[in-house]
């Protein structure tokens, strides 16, 4: 292979991206060297097995990916802002919408949610860490290097360009000869394995590591949603693993799964992809429901209305999520009976979702509501998500779907569910739990400014797409002529996208501003909240709780504050056992990165060497005996005093 085939050439914007990547990398390396932070980075972050730090790394990666996916989105909106734009060519546009979808769902929404899960769930159940801290680090690094591999495709070899759903035969070697879709199959495989491990890890953590007295039906709703999400992950992700494996075989080894000749069946891919893909939607939306439940209950100063029905509705959604996949391709000819079944199953999901909406509204009813930034996002979520949900019911009607299918109406629908559903939720959760992790709140004024920009501009960006879809504008078209009349609404949408971007800039600026100027708080409970994570200090000591809390009620921390007879701590300290750090998960992720990269380019000898390295690291891990570290009682006392602000 020649160099000019290896690097993507002939595109001024990609040259600019290359220069930007090179400068950023040089900047990071130089900065770390100048400030002598290499050792700090390695000891405190790259080798950590602490769930809080892993959570923070997930969230930082997710914010970076939000930026990358956001730039993709701006480029798309700019290209379609007016008829016959020449900003992007068709191929580049294809790559941009493909990576936008992949990155936003798999490398932004999911890791952001995993980050919050990592930080919060062990605290909410009163545990010292997750069940398998080292596996947790492996999960993170698999995700991280999978994401890096996909991002690399932009400058080396070319990005995937067959849509995030990569339908065959378009995604086959015959019709997509570049390595783009090899990146798709392999990068997703690597991060997908990490995700599966996260699912198993959190299932065991929640089932086995809860504090004494914290029965399942006393758990905070975010923990419940994580538990149910983990079940979905465990049974949905293996389907993706196989789908991607078959894709890899079709593209690298000429197998005939999804081909048009020799018995292959292209629709098999669509089915496999969506059997994973639809549960995936609920993997990002259920934790969001959990976040909203906790936030709405905290800022209404009331316990959650309909706790049991919340749990039951989530279980119902998780089961239904596995039997609706064919609604993604009603028009591909599977017949009336099949479409009828999937249509009814899809509409049935509106029932448990409606139950949840009413529960949130009844939680708000007669509550003492404080309009903090996280609460504002939760309040905006309810009406906007309802629009998204109702247009979903419109799309669910198989016969009507022939009209909407693959139009901008669909694009508007899923942005109306995913953005208020997942994105607002993670931003709300970010503002809500930020003081827990860092010991100070984000600025409320800037937070609210960002909120109004984001919420208003979100609607300006995406509402016109409903109308464009009904007018017949199909998704994924890179340009259109003036006669179509699509121009004005697209231009409005572009202006909205600029405003949305401005909102995110304010959000990031708020982080910077708050790090510098926000007053530090010492109570550990800045929101007067209800659940166990607020019962420990902020920032959180490495061992989370000096003493494992004892739970007697739902919202145990709240009741311990208002009723002296329901204490959660007895004051007896014991030595604490914590796992020690290890660099192997990072190295394993790196080895997978190289294995993936060589496989993408079919460089067999280096791929085999990298594969052997993966096995060797795993063997080395098998021989590890981690005895961990024991923190003696005196040291716990000293740390606790310091965190309370007393002198030692």
């Amino acid at each position: 292979m020649k160099w000019d085939e290896f690097f993507v050439t002939g595109e001024p914007m990609i040259y600019a991206a290359m220069v930007a990547i090179a400068l950023t990398s040089i900047g990071i390396v130089a900065g770390l060297t100048y400030f002598k932070k290499w050792g700090y980075l390695w000891r405190e972050w790259l080798t950590t097995v602490d769930h809080k730090r892993i959570g923070v790394m997930y969230i930082i990666s997710a914010l970076l990916m939000l930026f990358r996916g956001g730039v993709d989105a701006l480029m798309m909106r700019a290209q379609t802002a007016a008829p016959d734009m020449k900003f992007l060519d068709a191929q580049h546009y294809n790559e941009v919408f493909t990576t936008h979808g992949l990155i936003m769902i798999l490398f932004m929404a999911m890791p952001f949610i995993f980050g919050l899960m990592n930080v919060v769930v062990p605290l909410q159940i009163g545990a010292r860490d997750v069940a398998f801290p080292r596996l947790n680090a492996i999960s993170f690094w698999m995700f991280f290097f999978g994401a890096m591999l996909l991002n690399l495709s932009f400058v080396i070899g070319g990005s995937p360009d067959a849509g995030w759903s990569a339908y065959f035969p378009l995604a086959s070697k015959e019709f997509s000869p570049s390595v783009g879709n090899n990146y798709y199959a392999i990068a997703l495989q690597i991060s997908g394995i990490g995700t599966l491990m996260t699912g198993i890890n959190f299932l065991v953590t929640i089932l086995r590591m809860r504090a004494p007295g914290l029965e399942l039906m006393r758990m905070p709703m975010f923990t419940w949603s994580t538990l149910i999400t983990s079940v979905i992950i465990t049974f949905a992700f293996p389907v993706l693993t196989i789908a991607l494996l078959l894709m890899t075989f079709d593209r690298l080894f000429d197998s005939q799964f999804f081909t048009m000749a020799n018995g292959g069946m292209d629709m098999l891919w669509a089915n496999l992809f969506w059997i994973w893909g639809h549960p995936e939607v609920y993997i990002v939306i259920l934790p969001a429901f959990g976040i909203y439940s906790d936030i709405i209950s905290t800022f209404s100063k009331k316990n959650l209305y309909g706790y049991k029905s919340m749990v039951v509705s989530m279980l119902a959604i998780s089961l239904l999520s596995f039997v609706v996949w064919a609604h993604h391709f009603y028009t591909m000819g599977q017949g009336v009976m099949v479409n009828g079944f999937f249509s009814i199953a899809t509409m049935a999901i509106a029932v448990p979702t409606g139950v949840k909406i009413f529960n949130w509204l009844f939680t708000l009813r007669k509550g003492r509501i404080s309009f903090t930034t996280p609460m504002l996002y939760a309040m905006a979520f309810i009406p906007i998500f309802t629009i998204g949900g109702l247009t979903g019911v419109m799309l669910a009607m198989a016969s009507a779907d022939y009209h909407y299918h693959n139009t901008m109406f669909l694009v508007a629908h899923f942005h109306y569910v995913l953005i208020p559903g997942a994105v607002f939720a993670v931003i709300a959760g970010f503002h809500y739990w930020f003081p827990k992790v860092f010991g100070f709140r984000l600025n409320e004024k800037l937070g609210k400014l960002a909120f109004w920009l984001i919420v208003v501009c979100f609607n300006i960006t995406f509402f016109p797409l409903f109308l464009l879809g009904l007018k017949g504008m199909t998704r994924r078209m890179y340009t259109y002529s003036a006669e179509t009349g699509f121009g004005p609404l697209n231009f409005v949408s572009f202006l909205g996208a600029l405003g949305l971007a401005a909102g995110f800039v304010v959000l990031v600026y708020n982080i910077y501003w708050s790090i510098r100027y926000s007053p530090r708080e010492t109570t550990g409970d800045p929101w007067d909240a209800r659940t166990l994570e607020w019962a420990t200090h902020s920032p959180i000591p490495p061992y989370n709780f000096a003493e494992i809390p004892n739970v007697k009620t739902r919202d145990a921390f709240w009741f311990s504050k208002i009723d002296k007879n329901l204490p959660i701590f007895s004051g007896k300290l014991e030595p604490i056992h914590l796992p020690s750090n290890t660099g192997k998960p990072f190295v394993l992720g790196l080895a997978f990165f190289f294995l993936g990269f060589f496989l993408v380019f079919s460089l067999w000898t280096p791929a085999i060497i990298a594969g052997l390295a993966v096995l060797a690291i795993m063997a080395a891990m098998s021989f590890d005996r981690d005895h961990g570290i024991i923190i003696p009682v005196e040291e716990i006392r000293a740390t606790e005093k310091k965190l309370r602000g007393e002198s030692i």
Binding site: A131, I242, D254, A261, G263, L268, S622, F623
Partner: protein, 198 residues
């Protein structure tokens, strides 16, 4: 580390019993994985294009050998765990070694079978049926290969350290994995080979 003497060694610490639960959940995910592969196979089994059909391709003798060898290995790993429960280090190691050797025999018969198929012109790219057959069998075979490597590591650790809570836990989890591969093979034997030869 708190040891609970009322439980078998492999369950004796909290971490150990968490690991076993976690591995059962992982096996649940593996069931989802193999179910997907079986589904793909059943969808594609009659789409053999210009290549051979399952009836023309399969031969009973090697398949029976594989089945016999793998079922026996599942029995011997059971014996190894039984010996471990009685803290008989040497017999446990011998049974584990026999298990691994039987795993190798299985693999060599399977590889030989693949070579025969390819030699007869039935390759991965001949037809959708053959693609799904090779990938289903290959995924199972890759699991056996990984199991062989993993089991060897555990055998070395048992030889070095004897049965501690850590090594007993690893051996037990490995036995779960090995039994699982056997269960998958029973489905392959029944629904791929026997059904395919009928």
């Amino acid at each position: 580390m708190k040891l609970d003497a009322s439980l078998p060694l492999e369950y004796s610490t909290e971490e150990n019993s968490n690991r076993i639960l976690g591995f059962w959940i992982f096996l649940g995910a593996e069931i989802a994985l193999f179910s997907t592969l079986f589904t793909v196979y059943f969808v594609l089994v009659n789409r053999y294009a210009s290549g051979p059909s399952s009836k023309e391709l399969f031969a009973l003798a090697p398949v029976l050998t594989e089945t016999f060898v793998l079922l026996t290995s599942s029995f011997t790993i059971g014996l190894a765990i039984n010996a471990m429960r009685h803290n008989f280090k040497k017999p446990a190691m011998v049974f584990m070694a026999i298990t691994l050797v039987l795993g190798l025999v299985f693999l060599s018969v399977e590889i030989n079978e693949f070579v025969t198929y390819v030699h007869d012109g039935a390759t991965l790219s001949t037809s959708a049926f053959l693609s799904s057959l090779f990938v289903l069998l290959g995924t199972h075979g890759a699991h056996v290969t990984f199991g062989f490597l993993w089991g060897s590591m555990i055998l070395i650790q048992v030889a070095r350290e004897g049965f501690t809570p850590a090594t007993a836990n690893k051996s037990f989890i490995f036995s779960l994995y090995w039994h699982f591969l056997d269960v998958v093979w029973i489905f392959i034997f029944s629904f791929v080979y026997l059904k395919g030869m009928m």
